[in-house]
Symmetry: C2
Subunit: 230 residues, 2 copies
Amino acid sequence: MSTAEVLASVDIVALRMNDRSQLDILLIRRAQAPFAQQWALPGVLVNGLTADASLDAAATRALAVKARIKPRYMEQVATVGDAVRDPRGWSLSTFYLALVAPDTPLGDEDLSFVALNAVLDRRFALPFDHAQLVALACERLAAKSTYTSLPLYLISQRFTVTEALAAFQVCLGQAVQHTTLRGRLERMKQHGWIVETGEKNYPKMGRPQNVLEHRPQPSAAFVFDRSVLS
Amino acid sequence: MSTAEVLASVDIVALRMNDRSQLDILLIRRAQAPFAQQWALPGVLVNGLTADASLDAAATRALAVKARIKPRYMEQVATVGDAVRDPRGWSLSTFYLALVAPDTPLGDEDLSFVALNAVLDRRFALPFDHAQLVALACERLAAKSTYTSLPLYLISQRFTVTEALAAFQVCLGQAVQHTTLRGRLERMKQHGWIVETGEKNYPKMGRPQNVLEHRPQPSAAFVFDRSVLS
């Protein structure tokens, strides 16, 4: 690579909520140098040789080609760029936050969902500055979870209030008042983002719960007029 | 440029509030092709040939070198990239929102502050996709102005409530309740972000107003727990 070139990539922080209501992150075992065989964020290079119509298209391609996953939600978080993050030279990474359905399967032994906390705590080391990208994506998720409906993309489209509460709490990293959340879901119902299915879920413990259905609109996230923590 | 390369730039949407409480945007007359002599966003290319330590450093350089301006606030908005936005090939632009002091001077006839609304309305045409970048930066400013103190960077560090109200309203593009804003400024006072100077401003019309002083902390923007519009 000549010094006048820039290495530009798109990297994806794809999160899934597991059945213990914890977040896992999608990692891929790198086939090529640098850092061959190490677990890292899935990503692709973007340049004039690839057919990507845009950066967003490249991000969709990264998950589709590398992991055969179609996320339920994806947004660009930011772009980092400097002379030292990649041993090959000055490089840029535009990184995305993706939320995938809880039953998203993986069909390849070079793909794995790993405990997000292990990556955030640096117990599970990632190459490049990927751990920092993960931390920034999680900050974005937490910030947006205070005033939008994003956490609902981590649970089944048909869900109970208990499941929604678990999703909000794991995204925010703190407790959310049950009554506050119920108020938010009511607001969403009034705007057609959530409907009552009329069905009930019968847990082993406790009372039967109404099953709701999430019906996202094209704007992708419902925006509340105040923080869920206030 | 070979087809394997990517053209990466940093572009700045720098806003200043004028004495009619309207926003102006900083434009620069391009010296070189493409679009030579046209007014466009100030920006620089980033690659291994420049000494930038990071993208953020390149953004600071763009304003310092091209316009000799040091903004009071700057944040990365997003990165756009595709095959068509630049006639030279696949290109990326990481663009920043910058807020500059109301008395920021311009020392060069190739620099100008132009009415932001004329750019947003497309009455004043910009090359590349710069008009779209401006629109996205203004959306970010409006969104953040509902729950942060960002508009205060557009007025003098010593200011009156009337001036703060004008800044919030122009950033949001809608009216803000006087009492809501006063409540916000009180919250900021409690946290040391604003202090009473003990001085008064005597306008031609109306009652004298207390002069406050904005004392931003390193986190740059004070975050309120609910929307200023709610």
